[in-house]
């Protein structure tokens, strides 16, 4: 009996959100938000490791043989650094339960270079990725102050990485994909949000702030 009552309570929450309040439009048509997310695992693999994943446009990296003097004495790479994904979004609230987001993300990466003989720093490799990622966001919990959602998006990413140790500019264009199983925003007009995500932009979490109008 208690389990049945709990089930009814759950359905009431869900149904009440979708139906009894679903006919009322969401009070805010638009949102803008900015956030920071990490860990950009694909950027780490592609930019810092030099592997090409979904490359559509790639510049050729000249290969002069592993055992040549120029390869043996090439500057070696130090620790790589990533800024994480810095994103900005413009959101359109079509329904209480559905939001279309148009987001742009930026991620920077760099890596110092050291002379193979002396170990002194000689410069650095550096680059960035820029992605355009429209997302469909499904808001499955809408309260006055709290919203919870899931989202899925598909877009494009462009990356440019200056590999000075190889005298090569790596340019890559590849599909962007991001899935957010759960996210939460807290606030009314001005809010904070946090979400977990997996995809080409980042693997982990994103936090940020937004403004509804």
């Amino acid at each position: 009996m208690s389990a049945f009552l709990l089930l009814c309570a759950g359905l009431d929450v869900f149904a009440g959100d979708r139906f009894s309040k679903g006919k009322e439009p969401y009070p805010f048509d638009y949102e803008v938000r900015i956030g920071w997310g990490g860990y950009p695992s694909l950027d780490g693999d592609m930019l810092l490791d030099g592997t090409s994943f979904f490359g559509i446009v790639d510049t050729d990296m000249s290969y002069d043989g592993y055992y040549t003097l120029s390869n043996i004495y090439r500057d070696y790479r130090g620790r790589g650094y990533l800024t994480g994904i810095i994103s900005a979004e413009f959101d359109l609230n079509f329904r209480r339960w559905f939001t279309l987001t148009i987001g742009a993300g930026f991620s920077g990466a760099w890596q110092p270079l050291y002379d193979a003989v002396t170990g002194k720093k000689t410069g650095r490799n550096s680059g960035f990725t820029v992605s355009l990622l429209p997302e469909a966001r499904f808001n499955w919990l809408n309260r006055d102050l709290v919203r919870m959602y899931s989202a899925i998006g598909l877009g494009l990413t462009f990356s440019a990485y200056d590999e000075r140790d190889y005298n090569n500019m790596e340019l890559t264009l590849y599909p962007a994909f991001q899935f957010t199983p759960v996210g939460i925003s807290v606030g009314r007009k001005v809010y904070g949000f946090a979400e977990v995500g997996m995809g080409t932009q980042f693997l982990g979490g994103m936090v940020g702030m937004g403004f509804r109008f």
């Binding site: 920071w36 990490g38 055992y67 790479r77 650094y81 994480g84 193979a116 003989v117 936090v207």
Partner: protein, 257 residues
């Protein structure tokens, strides 16, 4: 805005370590030692054995005993020993010339890519002259390789055998890109081959390296041989590394004090 600035500070500390090459010259000396210097030691051993063999060659039993006392088992067969030539597996084929010189075709090894600009099996031809006081003068003649490579490679050395050691007192290896010269007051000394096997690393001595190629890379240093390590010396900078046969390629070949 402030939270984002703080987040940006935190985000910068995402690392991705890369392996680092600690001493590039080590890879170069590994290749050259395997391809050329080790070969020189072997050619001296082969010439030393052949000189002794030719004095007793008519006594077949004594000849084989001499071969068995020189080289590990299985390296010399009875049908590989003649007055005019001897074939020692892993060392080479040595022949006597009319003017008292020997010619040797080494069994060879894979070439040093850095200095031959190709990677393939390479067998060297040498002329060896023996002086009255027991010195071997070795000179390379037109190396043969499996790629028809026509780059320059010239090897000259002066060596002797004494007290169970092979001592290379003078050495000159010249290619299109590199000079390797023995350091005059530090001859290379390595234990001579015995039936138990052959040593690889020299026990003492030094070789002076200098090289450059068209890509602009150039380096100059002294390779020092010690009992338990080799050293790469550039002026006051000395890098201690593992012995040359202890590792093929590893970032751990530099010995940290």
């Amino acid at each position: 805005m402030l939270p984002l600035v703080l987040l940006a500070q935190v985000s910068c500390k995402i690392y991705d370590d890369e392996d680092s090459l600690q001493e590039p010259a080590y890879m170069v000396v590994q290749q050259t030692y395997r391809a050329y210097v080790d070969d020189l030691f072997r050619m001296v051993e082969l010439a030393d054995f052949y000189r002794s063999y030719r004095e007793i060659w008519q006594d077949r039993e004594a000849s084989m005993q001499l071969a068995d006392s020189y080289f590990p088992e299985g390296r010399v067969s009875e049908d590989g020993l003649y007055y005019e030539m001897a074939d020692v597996s892993g060392w080479g084929v040595i022949k006597a010339g009319n003017d008292g010189t020997y010619t040797i075709k080494s069994y060879g090894d894979y070439s040093c890519y850095v200095f031959r600009n190709y990677y393939g099996y390479e067998s060297m031809n040498y002329e060896v002259t023996v002086s009255a006081d027991g010195y071997f003068s070795i000179k390379s003649v037109d190396p043969e390789d499996d790629a028809g490579n026509d780059s320059i490679l010239k090897i000259e050395a002066k060596a002797r055998c004494a007290d169970g050691n092979v001592i290379i007192e003078e050495c000159n290896i010249v290619s299109d890109f590199c000079n390797i010269v023995s350091v005059a007051d530090k001859p290379l000394v390595r234990k001579r081959v015995t039936p138990s096997g052959t040593a690889y690393n020299a026990d003492s001595g030094s070789l002076s390296y200098s090289y450059s190629d068209k890509s602009g890379v150039n380096d100059a240093f002294v390779l020092g041989f010690h009992a338990d390590h080799v050293s790469i010396e550039r002026g006051s900078s000395v890098v201690k590394c593992l012995l040359l046969n202890e590792v093929e390629r590893s970032v751990d070949y530099v010995i940290s004090d």
